[in-house]
């Protein structure tokens, strides 16, 4: 038997499905055997999900969460990418900004919630600000290291062909750093999706995070809590998979290793 061989086509689907089925069974029987009154069984969660869909709450909450992520993440990209490229390009400027950034970077965006509420009040903008904070630093850091890791051969070749500094940035440094920048953007998007849920539990009254906390507070509907949690997982996965497709674009493919 060869363990290095590619899994066969049926195996690729069979094993994950089997694993999920086993997990569901474990969940189901744990609930039945422990006789818990609080934690829902898979069937109850499914019904809860149906309830949410029928009352049109789920779609609205999903759209609200995605809208906030789009705004916060979008702002982080628009501000973070140019800043990161500039700092990577001018190491002197980086030395000035770096200490402040290293201090701000490890602070969980959740810690900013009170500050965000003072600035923006309870509402959309506070949540977007928190998402922005969570996504901004990973993007800036990825751009800085992307640009400063560009092999000197590429920079020298660019200068040899007579490029001016802005042309060098646009035609050599940016494309050369793009694979690393994309990785940073993907990590930032993942963080944005983590932060939106936390922010919605406190700063706003809609979205998937709010749905989780609200389902618990109004009548301890744990079937809805778990349904919302599962939804958060599924959407996070879809966002990540969608972003991964960008890595297969031909002009950045060289920077990634693929299994096949």
């Amino acid at each position: 038997m060869n363990f290095l061989s590619e899994p066969r086509k049926w195996e690729r689907f069979f094993w994950p499905i089997l694993a999920s089925a086993l997990l569901l069974a474990l969940w189901h029987y744990s609930v039945v055997w422990s006789g818990t009154k609080v934690f829902p069984s898979p069937r109850e969660v499914l019904n809860g999900m149906g309830d949410l869909l029928r009352h049109h709450v789920l779609w609205r909450d999903i759209v609200d969460s995605l809208r906030r992520v789009a705004a916060g993440f979008g702002a982080a990209v628009v501000l973070g990418v140019p800043l990161g490229l500039t700092l990577g390009w001018y190491p002197a400027a980086n030395q000035v900004v770096n200490p402040v950034m290293q201090l701000l970077r490890p602070i969980s965006p959740i810690a900013w919630i009170p500050v965000a509420i003072i600035f923006f009040g309870v509402g959309d903008r506070a949540a977007m600000f928190l998402i922005f904070l969570g996504a901004f630093f990973p993007i800036v850091v990825a751009c800085i290291s992307g640009v400063s890791n560009v092999p000197s051969v590429f920079r020298r070749a660019g200068r040899n062909f007579g490029l001016t500094a802005p042309q060098l940035l646009a035609k050599v440094l940016l494309p050369a750093a793009l694979p690393q920048i994309l990785i940073g953007l993907r990590i930032a998007l993942g963080i944005a999706w983590l932060v939106v849920v936390a922010a919605e539990m406190i700063a706003v009254d809609s979205g998937l995070g709010y749905l989780v906390i609200d389902s618990r507070n109004s009548g301890k509907r744990y079937d809805l809590v778990v349904a919302a949690i599962l939804m958060i997982g599924v959407i996070g996965l879809v966002l990540d998979l969608a972003f991964r497709r960008l890595e297969k674009l031909r002009s950045v493919r060289w920077g990634f290793r693929f299994e096949s």
């Binding site: 020298r156 070749a157 040899n160 062909f161 007579g162 035609k171 002009s251 060289w254």
Partner: protein, 262 residues
């Protein structure tokens, strides 16, 4: 041309590149390393010169100074009478194969230095050099999917496309296998004969130098000085088992202090 008499470079050839008393000292961690010591060298227009020397002797440093990436600590380098101060598209540095841009296709790489040209002109030029280096059919291919030899030809094409006067090649075939390397030497000579660029070619391979160059500049270990300049007075295509070839090669072996027995 006689095979036994050394022939000097014809005096009528104009000097393209002149290196005048160039020394180079690097300061690092408080230590200063003397890399080049009073190098003087003239290269004629359209001439093919090999810089030959042991690894780390400073021949690449000299090539970088010729390209304008480094400035000499003392002395001057002039190209067509102008002092070299920065890189210039009129003299293109060719790195080992890793110098091609992996985010651009073959066409994109060759057209890289041509953005100022109108589109039609650019496409014509790109197509011409794609053909010259034998990459037809690979126009839309990314370097990742090319072999080492193809990548190297691509880089030479990218350099030639901007129509430079000079090519500065830094061990361009060093990373290739020996068969591909032989083929590439032939290709480079064919291109050189067609385009008549001035070529300065850095190598540590004695055979490579004797097969390619009009003159071989033998450099000493660091701090590098010019030990000897050998005229290779054999017409192309060169018979690499001819007595004159072997004589010249063995002379260089001795000059470097190597007995060529393994």
């Amino acid at each position: 041309m006689s095979l036994t008499q050394p022939v000097s470079v014809p005096a009528a050839v104009t000097t393209k590149l002149s290196v005048e008393h160039v020394s180079m000292v690097f300061e690092r961690d408080g230590k200063s390393t003397h890399v080049l010591n009073d190098i003087s060298l003239d290269v004629g227009d359209g001439e093919f010169v090999c810089l030959l020397g042991p690894s780390g002797c400073g021949k690449t440093t000299l090539l970088n100074a010729m390209a304008g990436f480094l400035s000499p600590t003392s002395g001057e380098i002039k190209v067509s009478g102008e002092v070299v101060r920065k890189p210039d598209p009129r003299r293109i540095f060719v790195f080992q194969e890793r110098g091609v841009f992996p985010w651009l296709t073959v066409e994109g790489n060759i057209g890289f230095g041509l953005s100022k040209l109108p589109r039609l002109e650019r496409e014509k030029r790109v197509a011409y050099y794609v053909k010259m280096v034998g990459l037809e059919g690979f126009e839309k291919t990314y370097p990742q999917e090319l072999s080492g030899g193809m990548k190297q030809r691509l880089e030479v094409a990218r350099a030639l496309a901007v129509n430079p006067d000079m090519l500065l090649l830094d061990e361009p075939f060093g990373a290739l296998d020996s068969i591909t390397r032989l083929i590439m030497r032939g290709e480079l000579l064919r291109i050189w004969e067609a385009e008549r660029k001035t070529i300065v070619f850095v190598t540590h391979d004695i055979d490579e130098a004797v097969q390619l160059a009009d003159r071989v500049v033998v450099m000493s270990a660091r701090p590098a000085t010019i030990q000897q300049i050998v005229n290779i007075d054999i017409t192309h295509p060169r018979d690499i088992s001819s007595p004159r070839y072997l004589e010249l090669r063995d002379g260089i072996f001795q000059q470097i202090g190597l007995a060529h027995k393994v």
